[in-house]
């Protein structure tokens, strides 16, 4: 409405709008760019999966025919059943074992807690299939402890047993982080009140501890189930002839070029993830409401027996974890497993030079750096515009939804969507297909949500009136962004960049569909080496990724320290 021409300000029935300023326009343009990026690289690829699922290979609409065909294929139905029971079993094993560990870390006076915590986080630095490779070295046909496996009555590690154990290790840190958060949020006053009423330890656990961690347990179970059912690397390496949904998708799409049925399986994989996401979203809202600002932090009491038992348990878990990871490192240096264990760099040199992993490794580092840089920029600017500028309400809710959506999309499904969408010659963005840029964008989108939530949390911690104060002082919003918001949020930015970098180094599921020979990354090279029977080189490659991630984590830590000194001096 032209306010200058109509100073009467109000027409009946119409809510007036303030005149826009140049900086309002700038914010609207910027947020539209973020929205467009998310639409092009998330929403449209997902939509094209849906389209593929209801079309035949000539592109004609066939309604649910592909789904019916799928349901009539016994081999595929068997994969569905396999995926379901393996994921359920891993959930039943991993969540309780992680709960005890988390309990030890948060509710005991056990010593060396940081050491235990650190050891359990190591698996996050390597591709998840590292544990599958280690298992092969331990229990494979030439495994170091094959006898133990025979003794337990399993004839081989390949198949369901291997998948279950390898996934158990791979998802343990994820479950642990959620449960530690849930158990940390304890109100000490509840325990004091219970003590004053003479409550037994068992009753306190059942009436205070467990209900308090209820949402964490639900959330951890859902996350574990989803991670397992959508994981591709572990079943590929150690699954043998045991088929699951994730490996089916790959075989259907890459092996048989059957896009239609591939799309159907992808939608099946999307279902549990989407369910997890919606339940988790609901649950996390309840969780935050539980702890008030007045809560008193819980302090564990002196209880030597409890602490000794828990320490023993944690030592056991940590030892298993180190054995698992150590074996891959050890085997990668062995000259010729299992006959000549003398240390050598044979696998490294062979992997790096002969199998062109060196190039893949450079690609990995490039992609990780690109993801960290551009991902952090996109995520933070997007979150800032959403939280702090007057974005039109409709646009705001669209961008918010798109920012949260990647959490519900397994990497495999996202990668598949990218093939369908970008491989289409009619798509003007077709030129991106097979490029490093697309791999980077895919990885950014894949891990967008965690970065977004970190940024939103950091931004919400800032006083909501900074922008109002700036406007009253006639300072445009971008100056306040530069002078105040950005410096205060620097630690969160470093954290987001580190998260992007490490995940880009280790990710397999999304990029496995998108690489070309010239843009192959190191984590994919592991799969190819393993498939070629070069398991030693595969182990070497996985170890190198883990090493690179560790070094990067350390460097990011140094960066955080340096930035902290420079920008956080105001913290009293």
């Amino acid at each position: 409405m032209n306010a200058a021409a109509a100073p009467a300000a109000t027409r009946p029935g119409a809510t007036p709008r303030l005149r826009s300023t140049a900086s309002d326009h700038l914010a609207a343009v910027a947020v539209s760019l973020v929205a467009l990026t998310l639409v092009a690289f998330l929403a449209l690829p997902l939509l094209s999966i849906l389209l593929q699922a209801v079309q035949d290979n000539q592109g004609r609409f066939v309604a649910l025919a592909n789904f019916v065909a799928y349901a009539r294929t016994p081999a595929l139905l068997e994969s569905l059943w396999n995926s379901l029971w393996v994921s359920a079993l891993v959930t039943l094993l991993a969540v309780p074992s992680a709960f005890v560990f988390a309990y030890a870390l948060t509710r005991s006076r056990m010593r060396f807690k940081p050491v235990f915590r650190g050891i359990t986080l190591i698996p996050l630095l390597a591709p998840s299939l590292l544990s599958a490779i280690s298992l092969i070295y331990w229990f494979g046909n030439q495994g170091a402890a094959k006898g133990l496996l025979d003794g337990l009555g399993f004839d081989q590690i390949y198949g369901a047993p291997g998948i279950v154990v390898a996934e158990w290790f791979a998802v343990f840190p994820h479950a642990l982080m959620i449960l530690v958060t849930a158990l940390t949020a304890a109100d000490g006053r509840l325990y004091e009140a219970a003590d004053a009423l003479g409550t037994s330890t068992r009753r306190k656990f059942l009436t205070i501890t467990l209900p308090g961690a209820k949402y964490g347990l639900i959330s951890a179970s859902l996350v574990v189930f989803t991670l397992v059912i959508t994981d591709f690397g572990i079943p590929k390496v150690i699954g043998g002839n045991f088929n699951v949904l994730a490996t089916d998708v790959f075989k259907l799409v890459i092996g048989q070029q059957d896009f239609q049925r591939g799309a159907v399986v992808a939608l099946l994989l999307l279902a549990p993830a989407a369910l997890t996401f919606s339940v988790d979203h609901f649950v996390s809202r309840r969780q935050t409401a539980m702890l008030t600002a007045r809560a008193v932090p819980y302090r564990p009491r002196h209880a030597p027996l409890r602490d000794r038992l828990l320490t023993a348990y944690c030592v056991g878990v940590a030892a298993l974890m180190l054995a698992m990871l150590g074996m891959a490192v050890f085997a990668s240096f062995a000259s010729f497993w299992p006959y000549n264990l003398a240390p050598s760099l044979r696998h490294y040199t062979m992997g790096l030079f002969d199998a062109e992993v060196g190039e893949g490794f450079v690609n990995s580092l490039t992609m990780a750096a690109g993801t960290a840089l551009f991902g952090t920029l996109l995520v933070f600017v997007g979150a800032y515009l959403l939280e702090k500028t007057p974005v039109p309400a409709a646009l705001r809710s669209i961008v918010r939804l798109l920012a949260i959506l990647p959490m519900a999309v397994p990497g495999l499904v996202l990668g598949l969507g990218y093939i369908f969408f970008f491989n289409d010659p009619a798509n003007p963005l077709n030129g991106l297909y097979h490029t490093m840029a697309l791999l980077t964008l895919c990885t950014i989108v894949h891990f967008y949500t965690t970065g977004h939530l970190t940024a939103v949390t950091a931004l919400k911690a800032l006083d909501a009136e900074f922008e109002a104060v700036s406007a009253s002082l006639k300072v445009p919003f971008y100056k306040t962004f530069w002078r105040v918001t950005l410096p205060i949020c620097m630690p969160a930015l470093v954290d987001i960049a580190r998260y992007f970098f490490v995940n880009a180094m280790t990710t397999i599921s999304a990029v496995v569909f998108l690489y070309s020979p010239s843009t192959k990354v190191a984590s994919i090279a592991i799969l190819n080496l393993d498939e070629a029977g070069e398991i030693g080189a595969a182990a070497a490659c996985a170890v190198m990724i883990a090493a690179a991630s560790s070094i990067a984590t350390f460097l990011f830590w140094l960066l955080a320290l340096w930035i902290g000194r420079r920008t956080q001096a105001w913290k009293a």
Partner: protein, 361 residues
């Protein structure tokens, strides 16, 4: 004379909920006005509309003769202070105060002298190099005031600026803000839910309730001559007695007829609003009207005086709260169960139509 700030029929709706309805108000140049009301009455919404941080659904705002209804905040002329201080934590006190000045591209020396002038003005000289986190809450709020005043705005908006502070700091700082405002002559609007705060600093109080203005008046008018039962209840402590209007400027409370000027038709139900200090225990002399015998039910010790609840057959069932000084109670050797004569001051009794409603919690 044309008011400095003029609100004409301001209306605000959130969906079906009417937050503000037809607000009309003029504020004179240099005036200190308080928007007073319970939470949810719309006072903060109205302030934010004046600031351009919310948009009115209808109505017009003029400031200094200029129509500002549709101007974005940056094109209006005001400084604002929030309850949360909203100081930039990573900038020093000097940088915070200079935040709006730097943008005006003033020479550095001029900015510096303006900053030290303001910091001195709010009583914190020498704190320029400190970060906000190194200051107490009260000191941070002073800096926020300095920052808001730095660009010499025509209007100062204070959104519950004292609510986050300790009681003692609060009382002290409100007087300082008042003194500063007098000295600079800047037109000021303060939003508060604390009636004592409003009474002590405002030139005029705008009492608001459920999105409309109940009364606009000086603190004395609002306190002594409340325009509605709501204002009487909200501002200060007050007794409410159900009564029946009678002829000849009299009302009947319980079995007794009291002198009390009113304009209600005889026989109609009314409620009498009467402040505790307007029920006198002395002087009571022969020939005084409205005197009755009361019995002390409860004594609440509040320091130099006591809040005493009395009942009397003369008032029927209804209890009455009065202030009695500690010395008086001691002198007369009065305690729970004691008896004393009391007098209702006829000219202070406010009469409103209808049955008394329960006081808001």
């Amino acid at each position: 004379m044309q008011p400095f700030l003029e609100l004409e029929g301001i209306r605000k709706q959130f969906g079906a909920f009417v937050a503000l309805e037809d607000i009309r108000l003029g504020i004179a140049q240099g005036e200190f006005v308080c928007f007073l009301g319970p939470s949810g009455c719309g006072k903060t919404t109205l302030l934010r509309i004046i600031a351009g941080l919310e948009t009115q659904s209808g109505g017009r705002i003029r400031q200094g003769g200029r129509e500002i209804s549709l101007l974005p905040p940056a094109q209006r002329d005001y400084g604002i202070v929030f309850q949360s201080y909203a100081l930039f934590p990573n900038l020093t006190v000097a940088d915070n105060v200079a935040y709006g000045l730097v943008n005006r591209k003033l020479p550095r020396a001029q900015i510096q002298s303006r900053v030290s002038e303001l910091v001195r003005l709010v009583g914190l000289p020498g704190s320029e190099g400190k970060f906000p986190a190194q200051l107490s809450g009260g000191q941070q709020q002073r800096i926020a005031v300095a920052r808001a005043l730095a660009t010499s705005p025509g209007l100062l908006l204070l959104d519950e600026p004292l609510s986050a502070l300790d009681a003692i700091v609060r009382v002290h700082l409100r007087q300082e803000i008042r003194a500063l405002q007098r000295k600079l002559g800047v037109t000021t609007i303060m939003v508060t839910h604390d009636q004592e705060e409003a009474l002590s600093v405002a030139d005029r109080i705008v009492v608001m309730n459920q999105g409309h203005i109940e009364q606009v008046g000086t603190p004395m008018q609002v306190y002594r001559d409340p325009a509605s039962p709501f204002v009487a209840d909200f501002v200060g402590r007050i007794n409410v007695l159900p009564a029946t209007a009678e002829h000849d400027a009299r009302v009947r409370i319980g079995p007794t007829s009291f002198v009390c000027p009113h304009q209600q038709p005889p026989g109609s139900a009314v409620k009498i609003y009467l402040r505790p200090e307007d029920v006198l225990a002395r002087p009571i002399e022969p020939g005084h009207t409205n005197v009755f015998d009361a019995r002390i039910d409860k004594v609440e010790f509040l320091g130099s005086y006591c809040l005493v609840r009395v009942t009397s057959p003369a008032l029927g069932e209804h209890a009455l709260t009065v202030y009695l000084s500690l010395n008086f109670l001691a002198e007369q050797q009065l305690d729970v169960g004691g008896r004393l004569p009391l007098r209702l001051m006829p000219e202070r009794m406010r009469v409103f139509v209808g049955e008394p409603e329960p006081l808001p919690a």
